[in-house]
Structures are given as C-alpha cells and as structure tokens.
Amino acid sequence: MQHRSLFHVALLAGEIMLRNGAETYRVEDTINRILHTYEFEIIESFVTPTGIFVTIADSNTELITLIKRVQHRTTNLEKVALVNDISRRLVSGSLEISEALKELQQIQQKPPYSSFIITLSIGLASAFFTLMFGGHWRDFIASGIIGIILSMVQLYFSNKKISNFFINIVGGACIGLTSILLTSILPLGQHLDPIIIGSIMPLVPGVAITNAIRDTIQGDLVAGNSRATEAFLIAISIATGVGIVLKIFLLITGGSMP
C-alpha cells in the first residue's frame, strides 16, 4: 500500500504547487522526483495550467492513472517554496511519507497574508510604481489612494464569486474614474499618465505574458498557449474598463487631458 500513499503525496504536492502559481515544468519535476523514490516501471506526468495527469505502473500493481482538475489559481509563492522543501526532504529520505502527507495538508490550510495587509500593499505598490514612472510626491499619494480603493473593490467582488473577467473590467473602470477625480476635480495629483500606469500595475498581466512566452520557448506549448490566452483576456478586460472611462471623459471635456 505504500506506493499508493506515495502516489497521493505526489499528486497533492503537485496540486498545491499548481494552485499557488508554480510553473508547469516545476510541478511535473516535483511529481516525478517524488515518484522516483519508489521503483515504478513507468512514471509519466503531464501538467497544464488547468489540470494534472499522472500515471504509474509496476510489475505487481496494475496501471494507475489519476487526473486532477485545478480550477482556481492564485499566486502564493510561499506555499510553492514550502512544498518544494518537503519534496526535497522526501527525496533525500529524511521525511516519511505519512509525515509528508500531514505537512502538505498543513500547508494547504495555511492562511495567506491578511486582507488588510494585502490592501495596504496594493496601495503602496501602486504609489511606488507611480514614483518609478516619473510621478511626483503628490501623484504618489493619489495613486496610493487609488490602489487602496481598487483592492477594496476587488476584494468585494471576489468574495461574491464573480468571474475574473468582470472584476478586471470593474477594476479598470474604477482606476480610470478615481484617477480622473484625483487629478481634475480634486487637484491632488498632477500627472495622469504615471498615476494610471502605477495603479494598473497590480492588475496588468505583465508577469503572465512573460511566463507564457517562457513556457512556449521551453516547449510547454499547451501551458504557454493557455497562459497567453489568459493574459490577453486580462489585458483586454482592464483596457476595456479604463478605456471606457477615459473615452467618456475625453468626450465630455472635448479632448483635453490633464
């Protein structure tokens, strides 16, 4: 029965990694390394961003294939690091399979940073990005406020389980609206461009696009394609949100931007 529990440990480790933003090749690699600690004749794993497929076969066991569908992905890189550590200890033999399973289940329960800290970080990240793209101190404060409003809006909608596509449109519109408010009506910020660029940085899929290209170069064509599609969808929805608001503003003021 030991091979079965090892199989479950490998699959659970892979699932946690994929759910929390690990690259597909790393997930495949982890699953294979864990399974190689037992002498199976055939070990095959195939990971896409939306699912894991693993097959093992042995002379005295029948062929086992398991499929794990992964629907919601977030980015929680600490969990990836922890699972990586467990797999390393398991492979080196300093960790029993049952203990590994227990630790993996603990990792699954581990809470992320509190939503207060996340909200504050999104605000401060936006603010510092504005500074980085050539904004002034007043723009810094403006985009900090926008970032905090944005993350509250995001939090509100994601608690209601609305699709990400819609959340991004609303988020983009919210950025457009508040940044116009804070530059034209309340004269806090002076430069609209760095404020908007800084504030959309937490939303834009720059990392996703880069990872999609990286996956494609490395030969994970399925993963690369699906990540690219996801990234373009996010980009389009943000652009729709920001674009609608800016367009309306341009129509009202007759084409003058602050």
């Binding site: 690091a81 970080s121 990240a125 500074l131 980085m132 908007i196 937490p202 720059g206 880069t210 341009l250």
Partner: protein, 138 residues
C-alpha cells in the same frame, strides 16, 4: 535616479506581499527588483533602446535570482517573478490601450509591438539563465 531605484525596491517588496512571499525573503526580492531597474535605467540613458535595456535588466535579475535561490534554498521563481515586476511592460500595455481609444492606430501598433518585444526579451533572458546547466542536481 536614486529615488526611482528606491521606489522600485519598495514597489517590488509590496508586490511580493501580494504574491504571499514569506517575510524572510521579502528584502531579497526587493533587492532583485531594485538591481534590475537600476540596470534598466543605466542602459536606457546610454543606449536609448528600451528593448535592449529590458533584456539586460532581466538578465541581471535572472542571474541574481539564481544565485539567491542557491544561497537561500528556495525555488528560483520567488526571486524571478518578483524581480521582473518593475521591468514588465505594464506601461506599454497602457499606452497601447490609450492609443486605441484615441483612434491612433499607428501608435497602437508601435506601442503594442514594443510591448510584445519587451515581454519576449525578458522571457528569453529568464530562459537563458535557467538553461545553464546545474553543477549538482538537487
């Protein structure tokens, strides 16, 4: 320039919190982001090519991340993803979108293509560094 590099440092740290990176690694993530952005700024002042500057910035980040992940024994992704945050073409995407709503299709194509180029060279820099053979397999 010092202000911009410092901003990149803090922006990367706060972004790493959004990615739920453990507290003990945050400073190093910020350092990666700051180094990458500093190289980018130096290059763009001397050679005026955002694509080449992004490439060199990303290359620095990738080398830094790889050595950091060796030293601190955590997956390289942690430093890589957070380190490239200042370099990724968020501004390019915004300018493309802004050109489209202004019906400036030439501008949209220019910014759109340069955005894709920058994303591409960052990815190539990351792959280049990760394809160097490992001395000992973990």
């Amino acid at each position: 320039m010092i202000v911009k590099t410092m901003s990149a440092f803090f922006a990367t740290i706060f972004f790493s919190i959004i990615f739920n990176i453990a507290k003990k690694n945050l400073i190093f993530c910020g350092l990666g982001g700051a180094i990458g952005w500093f190289i980018y700024l130096c290059c763009i002042q001397s050679i005026h090519s955002p694509v080449l500057a992004s490439f060199l910035g990303a290359l620095t980040v990738a080398i830094f991340s790889r050595s950091m992940s060796k030293i601190r024994k955590v997956p390289v992704t942690i430093f890589l993803i957070s380190g490239i945050i200042p370099l990724v073409p968020g501004a390019g995407m915004y300018r493309t979108m802004f050109a489209i709503i202004n019906n400036d299709l030439v501008g949209a194509a220019t910014y759109g293509i340069s955005t894709l180029q920058i994303a591409g060279v960052i990815a190539i820099a990351m792959v280049m560094v990760s394809s160097f053979p490992n001395k000992k397999q973990r």
